[in-house]
Every structure is written in C-alpha cells, then in structure tokens.
C-alpha cells in the first residue's frame, strides 16, 4: 500500500509526534525542557524489546508497558528533581540542566542493562532491528499503519481528557494562569505530577514506536533529542496539539526529504539528514517564533467555512 519510504516516514513521524508532544506538555506546565526525554524514549524501546525477547508474541502488546514505565520515570523525575526546583522558582536553564543530569543517569543504566543482557542472556541489545519482528498488514508493514493510529489515539485521548474531565480542565486552567488556578483551590502539585506522568509515558511510547523504523541502540534517544526539540519548537510550545503536529511534520519532512534528496544527488547526502530538522528549527525560531501556534486556527477555520459556503451558492 505505501511505498517503503513513506511507510518508514509515517512510523518515524508518528514517533516524533509523540515525543514532541510530551516535551511541549512538560514545557507549558512546568517550564522545563525535558532533556531526559532521550533516556525515557530509549527506555520505552528497551522495555518492549526485553518483554518481546522473553515472552515473544505480538510486540505491540508491550507498548502500554513501555508507556507505564515512562510514566514511572517521569514521576521519579518530578518528585526528586523538578518539584524542589520549581518551589525555588529555578530558571529555565537550571530546570533543563537538572533533566540533563537525570538523562545521563538513565543512559548509564541503559548501557549497564545492555551489558547485563548480552552477558547473561546472550542477547544483542546494542543493535536491534525491531522491524524484523513486525508483521504485514494490507501489503505494507503493520508499523506504518499502527503508528499513526497510536499517535492519533493518544491525541484524541488527550483532547478528551483535557476538555471533558474536571482534572483535565484544571490542567488547562493551570497552564493558562497558574496563580488564578491555585487561588481557586486547584492543587498545582497534582497538575505537574500528571504532566510528568503523561509526558514521560509519551516519551517512552515514542521510543517504542521509533524502534520500528530505526535501529534500536542505547543512544537512540540521545541521537534524536534534537529532532524532538525541533518538533516541539515548530509546534510553538503553546499547545500539546501544536507539539504533536510539529513533531509529525518535522519527522515526515526529514525522513521523506532526505530520501528524495538522496535520489536526486546520491546516497552521500544521507549522512547530513540532521540538517533538515535543524533548518526547520532555525526558520521557525528566526521567522515564526510562535511556530504553528502562531497561526490563527479559528480564523483559518472561519475562512474555510466561508469559502465553502461561497462555493455552494
């Protein structure tokens, strides 16, 4: 159904959309640029890999476990690191540095875990091609269909959570006006904790999805963190939906873009694929600092509605 370059692109873009969305959520609630997203994503992949290696079956069934583990990592980060710093009204840089420290610890644990797995269980966790364990669906890889579905499902669930539940609405209120929210009796602690639960979970889930198209390595998250941030920046760092969309666009642009460039000028350009998300990030920061969120969506919807009415009559 999909040509291989599009199939891989959809998986890559879906993974980035999940991680960029998580980064955006964490930033708009706690002002923290979560560097540990790299480690959490990598952990998400390894959780799926470990369960699959020992229990086999359908690897997608372990994705929820990856999400939960990511949430757990997020909770630890909040309670141990983020909360005390927020209480001190630490700067954005300090908050980012703290997550960097946490990420390095996560990375060291992952590396040691890989050592242990290869020594004790004779596995090869340092170069894993999860796509080999995928199956086919409608004449394309299952991943290319399931990944976008996962991304859209998460997007929908988030939307429902944020708009239809009292707690979700209180999250939106806290994001918009934390002082008024607190003065209304909303415990900001719980809001921040929840954003780390969701953000961490999305990071891990993103990592699990990513492994379906990229080789799984201990530094997978570290290599991709710049792209994740680029997606969040394109999204505008104002709404989660922007982050999810931004991540998707950056992912698709990079994956498909570099493929077409390689076809045109030769495979040597593949090594420079980092340039594409970098370019998008640079353009966004310099020309459209508010990113996708700067586009007046309601105005756009109104114009579209009006145009369609015009066409009808």
């Amino acid at each position: 159904m999909f040509p291989p370059w599009l199939a891989g692109g959809l998986v890559y873009a879906s993974a980035l959309s999940l991680t960029a969305g998580g980064i955006t959520l964490l930033y708009i609630t706690t002002r923290t640029f979560n560097f540990a997203h790299a480690g959490m994503a990598t952990f998400g992949f390894y959780i799926t890999y470990i369960f699959y290696s020992f229990r086999g079956g359908n690897l997608y069934q372990y994705f929820p476990l990856s999400f939960l583990f990511g949430s757990l990592l997020g909770i630890i980060c909040y309670i141990g690191l983020n909360k005390p710093l927020l209480r001190r009204q630490a700067s954005t840089i300090t908050l980012m540095m703290s997550t960097l420290g946490y990420d390095l610890i996560l990375l060291s644990i992952i590396q040691m875990l890989c050592d242990y797995l290869s020594y004790t269980f004779k596995l090869y966790p340092r170069r894993v091609t999860m796509s080999a364990y995928d199956f086919e669906m409608f004449r394309t890889s299952a991943a290319s269909i399931i990944s976008p579905i996962i991304a859209i499902t998460i997007l929908t669930l988030l939307h429902l959570f944020l708009t239809r539940t009292k707690f979700g609405t209180s999250m939106r209120a806290t994001i918009e006006n934390p002082i008024l929210a607190s003065a209304s009796g909303i415990n900001s602690d719980k809001v921040y904790l929840m954003s780390w639960v969701i953000g961490g979970g999305m990071a891990a889930l993103g990592g699990a999805v990513m492994s379906l198209t990229m080789t799984g390595t201990p530094v997978m998250g570290m290599t991709l963190i710049a792209q994740m941030f680029a997606g969040a920046i394109l999204g505008g760092l104002e709404s989660i939906y922007g982050g999810i969309l931004g991540g998707f666009i950056v992912g698709l642009a990079e994956y498909v873009g570099i493929y077409y460039l390689a076809v045109m000028v030769g495979p040597w350009i593949l090594g420079y694929r980092m340039a594409l998300p970098l370019l998008i990030m640079a353009i966004t920061l310099l020309l459209f600092p508010r990113g996708l969120a700067g586009i007046q969506w309601s105005y756009l919807m109104e114009s579209i509605k009006r145009a369609r009415k015009g066409v009808k009559s």
Binding site: L104, I105, M112, Y119, F229
Partner: protein
C-alpha cells in the same frame, strides 16, 4: 598591618585551599602508586579542559549566554588544525596536499614523512605549533562571530537548544565529509613535539600547562577590567545597560568571539596531543556537558572556581578509570563494564550541584573596585562623621 600568621590562617580556612590540598594529596598518592605518566596525562587533560571551561565561563558566567554549543568552537579549532597545517607542510615539501590528503591510505604515508622533517628542525616544529594555535584561534573567532548572530535574538533555553543542535550537526559533517578530516577514519596530525623524542609527554604537559596558565591570566585580566564589569552589568540588568548607552549586541559578540577563540585553541591542543583528529570523538557529552559540569561545580562566574572544578572532576574521573576493576569489579560478575559509571557520575554531579550547591564551590562574590582596606577606612570615617550629632 596584618602579620603573615593571620594572613595564612585566614586563607587556609578557605574552601578552595582545602580542596586543592586534598587534590594534591590524591595526586601524590597516584604518582607514587602508578608512576609519573598518569599524573602527566591527567595534567594535560586538565590543562585542555581548563582552557575550554574558562572560555565557557566567560560566555555563560560573565555574559549570561546559554552556551550549549561549546563543542562547535572546539570542533572549529580541532578540524582546522586537522585539515590545514598538515596540508601546508605537505605542499611545501612536494607531498600530496589536496582532497586526497585526508584519505587514509595517503595520509598514513604522508604524515610520517612530515614527522621526519619536524624531528630535525626545531624552528619549523615551533613555528608549526604556533601556527596551529593561531589558526585555531582565528577560526574559533570566526565561529564565535557566526554563533553570535542567533545569540542576539534568542534567549535562554531556546538559544541553548539551537546551539546544541548545531554542535551535533557540525560533528556529523566532519564525520561524513571525508576530505575534511578523514570522516570515519581519522586524519593524523603532524606532531611538533617529536623533537623531544623520549620525553614527549613531559614536554606536552609542561607546554600545555603553561598555555593554560596564560589563558587563565588573560581571562582574569579581561573579567576584572571595565569590559568585564560591563559584561556583568549586561548579564544582570540588560535594560539598565541599554539606558547607560552600552551596545549590547557589540559586547555580547565580543564576548562570544573571545570565548570561542579560546575554546578553539583548546580543541587544537587536544588533537595535537592525541595526534589524530577523529570527528566522532567531538561529542556534545565530552565538550559541552562535561565543561558545563566543571563550570557548575566550580561556581559560575568565578575563574578560580573553574580551575578547581576541572581539577576535582578530572581527578575523580581518573580515579574511576584506574580503580574501575578493583572497586567496581563486582559489576563484571554480571558482565557490566564499570566505565559506564562515568556517565552516572556526571549525572549525579550535575543533579547534586543543581539541588544543593547552585552557586558551586566558589560562589561569585561582589567585585570591589578599591582594595578592601581602603573601603574599610572610608566606612570608618563616615561612621565617625555621622556619630557627631549637631549638638556636639
């Protein structure tokens, strides 16, 4: 007039001194157990990273720029030294110098040839070394100027992330573009220290330490000068600076150019020491994050703190490497290589500092323009004056 005893007592109790003495003891112990070469190689790494961290402190601590792309300047110095000086010598001596210089088959033969020339000619070796440093400084300055363009418009974490991404990008360029520095196979750097055959490591250690001291003195001069005070004012109150007519853009650019040039020199020293230039080795971990950790431990804004931070952590890392089998050998029972503990250490250090010691070992003190003795005298006279009420 205070006597020497009092001065000594007061200074000895300072944290910095205590820590330095502890480090000295550790180093002496290492020298006795493992021999001098360990100390010398530690000193070399210490010198190189002091230079890089001092440059970072200038931009972050004194000017308030989120420099998460320190690796860019280091790469600028390293790659330029990898690509150009060797080629120039090759050209002068009729050896291949074009794009093929970086090709490993060619490079492998050309460089030893150059070495034979450098061995005999001390003037040439010295000139070559200085040329490398100057070239690195210039290319660092250029990169500093280029990175100042986004630094003007972006703030804090946004700037940090952008610079971080660019750092990654340059590393990948070096890794993929073969003619530059050999891509995946390294390029060899002609070694100007060949002349002291047999005592190379001592010569390198001595030279690099001297250069580090020079850099330290230079940065001290800059930061204690009016320029340095302007930087601090810019960092703390940009609005006030503008009111006073200070050109923020120009001053930030100057700071970035100087910092970048110095970091590039650090990069050049590193490749000269190791004798090779491997692009993939210039990771953000080693050349941005570790210097940030050194800086945070030392105390952002304090130059002596930088040196202390680098010293403490470099020695700690050396200890981990030396003792990884004995102390952490139990991990090998599960097949785990203790070397990963370096990352754990870095992570824990950063978290510890951020949570418990945000100002580092040597917190920044308010700078006084007059010596403290004179200030005390002025305070005294003012106090005497004000205690005289109108009735007296």
């Amino acid at each position: 007039m205070r006597n020497i005893g009092d001065v000594l007592k007061q200074n000895l109790m300072k944290r910095e001194v205590i820590i330095s003495l502890v480090i000295l003891l550790v180093l002496t112990y290492l020298a006795i157990s493992y021999g001098l070469s360990i100390i010398l190689s530690t000193l070399i790494i210490f010198s190189i990273f002091s230079i890089v961290t001092l440059s970072l402190n200038l931009e972050v601590g004194h000017t308030g720029i989120s420099q998460f792309g320190r690796v860019i300047s280091v790469i600028a110095g390293a790659f330029v030294v990898g690509a150009i000086p060797g080629r120039i010598l090759a050209f002068l001596y009729g050896l291949p110098f074009g794009l093929e210089y970086a090709d490993d088959a060619v490079n492998y033969k050309v460089v030893p040839f150059i070495h034979k020339i450098l061995e005999k000619n001390i003037a040439l070796a010295l000139g070559f070394f200085l040329f490398c440093l100057v070239l690195a400084g210039l290319s660092g300055a250029l990169i500093g100027w280029l990175t100042s363009r986004p630094a003007i418009r972006l703030r804090e974490a946004y700037l940090g992330i952008s610079l971080l991404a660019f750092g990654d990008f340059f590393m990948w360029v070096g890794h993929n573009w073969e003619p530059l520095v050999g891509g995946t196979t390294a390029v060899f750097i002609p070694d100007p220290f060949r002349i002291v055959w047999g005592y190379r490591i001592q010569a390198v250690a001595f030279t690099f330490l001297a250069i580090a001291v020079l850099v330290y003195l230079f940065i001290e001069r800059i930061t204690k000068s009016p320029f340095g005070r302007t930087l601090k004012m810019l960092r703390d109150s940009p609005l006030v600076s503008r009111v006073y007519g200070k050109n923020i853009v120009k001053i930030r650019t100057q700071s970035l150019v100087i910092g970048s040039a110095i970091a590039a020199i650090g990069g050049a020293l590193y490749v000269i020491y190791t004798g090779t230039c491997t692009a993939i080795g210039f990771t953000r971990l080693t050349w941005t994050f570790w210097p940030w950790a050194y800086m945070m431990l030392g105390g952002i804004g304090s130059n002596i703190g930088m040196v202390l931070g680098v010293l403490v952590l470099t020695v700690l890392r050396t200890l981990i490497i030396l003792y990884r089998k004995s102390v952490f050998g139990f991990l090998l029972l599960w097949g785990i290589d203790p070397i990963w503990l370096e990352y754990t250490l870095l992570g824990l250090v950063i978290i510890f500092i951020v949570l418990f010691m945000p100002y580092g070992l040597v917190p920044e003190k308010a700078e006084t323009v007059l010596p403290s003795g004179r200030i005390k005298a002025i305070l005294e006279s003012v106090r005497k004056q004000s205690s005289r009420t109108p009735e007296n």
